[in-house]
């Protein structure tokens, strides 16, 4: 058990009777990188929100490093070492990039340490050119980087990344993939992605969500060849266009 950083048991969330996440048993090992895929509305973001305390589960439990953290406050979960980059970037639009990163780093580090971390991240993400600009003025791709940078600055044990490359150019996407590759040396990461190319770039383990449940868990190559997955995607696809 000590090998698991995150475990959920029968985790469920219902909205007005409709299940969005329905009895999910999920395990993630220390240092593991996992991709979550699945059609829109499969429950991936809801799943993330329950892990980070943004939503209170209707049922089931969340264990982080073996401790029950179900329904804990957001800031306490963050304190335990869970960091999240949300689907729509959640940022401090009115303040500068540098200040945003500093506040993220400063929470758990001394001022001197925080400054060092900020400089490192600015260099790593290529944001140093816009470090003094207000976050609200940045282009979409840059905003993604700022949020990613803020999650990194905290140096979490578990990183949840919800569609980190949405709105990025192919170059930026590749850069992100490289960065994630580097990050996984030190921590566990879960990435929600639609871009299969990207998934293939970064991950071996994939969990497929469908209608609030785990459809399958397997290496990427297997998942892509699975007829059920194809049906889920194509089915959902054709439904949307009906």
């Amino acid at each position: 058990m000590s090998g698991q950083i995150l475990e959920t048991r029968g985790l469920s969330k219902r909205f007005g009777g409709v299940p969005a996440v329905d009895g999910v048993d999920f395990r993630l090992a220390e240092g593991e990188l996992r991709c979550l895929i699945g059609p829109n509305g499969a429950g991936k973001s809801t799943f993330f929100k329950m892990i980070t305390g943004q939503l209170r589960p209707s049922g089931g439990r969340v264990l982080f490093r073996g401790e029950d953290v179900t329904g804990e406050e957001r800031h306490l979960l963050a304190k335990r070492g869970i960091g999240i980059k949300t689907q729509v970037p959640s940022l401090f639009d009115g303040i500068s990039v540098r200040e945003s990163l500093y506040l993220a780093a400063r929470r758990f580090h001394s001022p001197r340490e925080a400054l060092r971390i900020v400089d490192g991240i600015l260099a790593e993400t290529g944001l140093h050119a816009v470090a003094e600009r207000r976050v609200g003025e940045l282009a979409h791709g840059q905003r993604q980087w700022v949020e990613l940078g803020m999650v990194l600055a905290r140096e979490p044990l578990l990183m949840l990344l919800d569609e980190p490359t949405a709105g990025m150019t192919p170059d930026e996407t590749a850069h992100t993939a490289a960065l994630i590759g580097k990050l996984r040396q030190q921590r566990a990461i879960i990435v929600v992605e639609h871009d299969m190319q990207f998934v293939r770039m970064i991950a071996e383990g994939v969990t497929v969500f469908h209608q609030g449940r785990i459809l399958m868990e397997a290496p990427i190559s297997e998942v892509l060849g699975d007829p059920r997955v194809r049906e889920v995607y194509l089915g959902a696809h054709s439904e949307r266009h009906a």
Binding site: E73, H75, A78, I84, T86, L91, F92, R107
Partner: protein
């Protein structure tokens, strides 16, 4: 660059303030001192809301209630004790405790922005109704009667600490008020520049993100709300001492509205704006209470001050939503840019 400019501004303000503290009582007439003192006191109240609303993002529409609580706490204590040191502290602490309780209720209950605004305003009105119905002799704290609608007249002013027989005279009251204003202004500047203040601004910008980064936003907001209440209470103490009187109208909706107009006119998100807005609007309403010139010009028998306040409020929201100070700064900056181009 802008940082350096603002700290240079700070030094100028500090220097002018100290010069005024020492010099002004010798050059202006007595009444002007009394007048300026009340402007300073009301500016302190405005600063408390400028901080709570502008920096912590808490829509405390009932900020004047803490001012009133401070004034009443001072009044009750000073009538019973005679010496003013403890009453002054009571006037700061009572509103802080009240705000801590109320704030816990609202902030930890995660009441939304607008509801918080309405609840704070309603609490102020509850206090108004409560205090207003305590005219009877049975509502007495020690030797002090709450007085209901009558208010509490004839209060002893603040005295030299430890010496009840040395009450402050008008010049001293002026020095105390201006000194307090400078103290509060620079304290708030320091708070805003500190980590605490920077986190507050981050929470105002995006509470969810701040929490996901591990900051307990509710604790920060509660602390800011409580601090703001203490400052407002301090202003209330000074006000009660200044006029020797505190009455229930400080809890009324009209006074609550005024404080908000001050902030809005001066500019939300600045401290200096709060002072500018207070002085302008307060001057305007006081003047309207005594002028005959303006109504005569317009062919009216008189002008109701609320009419003018209303027009000012609407015009600012529609046309100058960022307030005087930020708008002036912007104009100045764009002119500088044009000049250097």
């Amino acid at each position: 660059m802008s940082n350096r400019a603002s700290s240079a501004g700070g030094i100028v303000i500090a220097a002018l303030g100290v010069a005024a503290l020492i010099g002004v009582p010798y050059v202006v007439e007595l009444f002007t001192l009394v007048d300026v003192a009340v402007y300073c006191i009301l500016s302190i109240l405005a600063l408390s809301l400028a901080f709570v609303w502008g920096y912590a993002g808490i829509l405390s529409f009932g900020q004047s209630a803490f001012f009133g609580l401070g004034g009443y706490a001072y009044a009750m204590a000073v009538i019973n004790l005679g010496e003013s040191t403890v009453p002054v502290l009571a006037g700061i602490l009572v509103p802080m405790i009240f705000a801590a309780l109320l704030g816990y209720f609202m902030i930890y209950g995660r009441v939304s922005d607008v509801y918080l605004a309405v609840i704070t305003l309603t609490v102020s009105l509850i206090l108004y109704h409560l205090i207003n119905s305590t005219s009877g002799p049975e509502y007495t704290i020690g030797r002090a009667r709450l007085g209901g609608h009558n208010g509490v007249p004839g209060l002893p002013p603040i005295n030299v600490p430890g010496n009840a027989s040395a009450p402050l005279d008008y010049a001293d009251t002026f020095r105390l008020s201006l000194g307090a204003l400078l103290l509060v202004y620079f304290t708030l500047r320091a708070v805003i520049a500190s980590r605490f203040g920077r986190v507050l601004v981050a929470i105002r910008e995006n509470e969810l993100r701040a929490e996901l980064l591990g900051y307990d936003s509710r604790r920060y907001k509660l602390m800011a709300f409580t601090l703001g209440a203490g400052i407002a209470g301090f202003a209330g103490v000074l006000f009660a001492s200044w006029g020797s009187f505190i009455g229930p109208s400080v809890f009324g909706i009209a006074f609550a509205a005024q404080v908000i107009v001050w902030i809005l006119v001066g500019g939300l998100g600045t401290l200096g704006g709060a002072v500018v807005g207070t002085v302008l609007i307060q001057y305007l309403t006081t003047w309207l209470g005594q002028t005959k010139a303006l109504p005569a010009m317009l062919g009216l028998s008189k002008i109701d001050p609320s009419l003018v306040l209303g027009i000012v409020l609407i015009l600012f929201v529609l046309l100058v939503p960022s307030g005087i100070l930020p708008t002036l700064r912007k104009l100045l900056r764009s002119r500088q840019a044009a000049a250097s181009a």
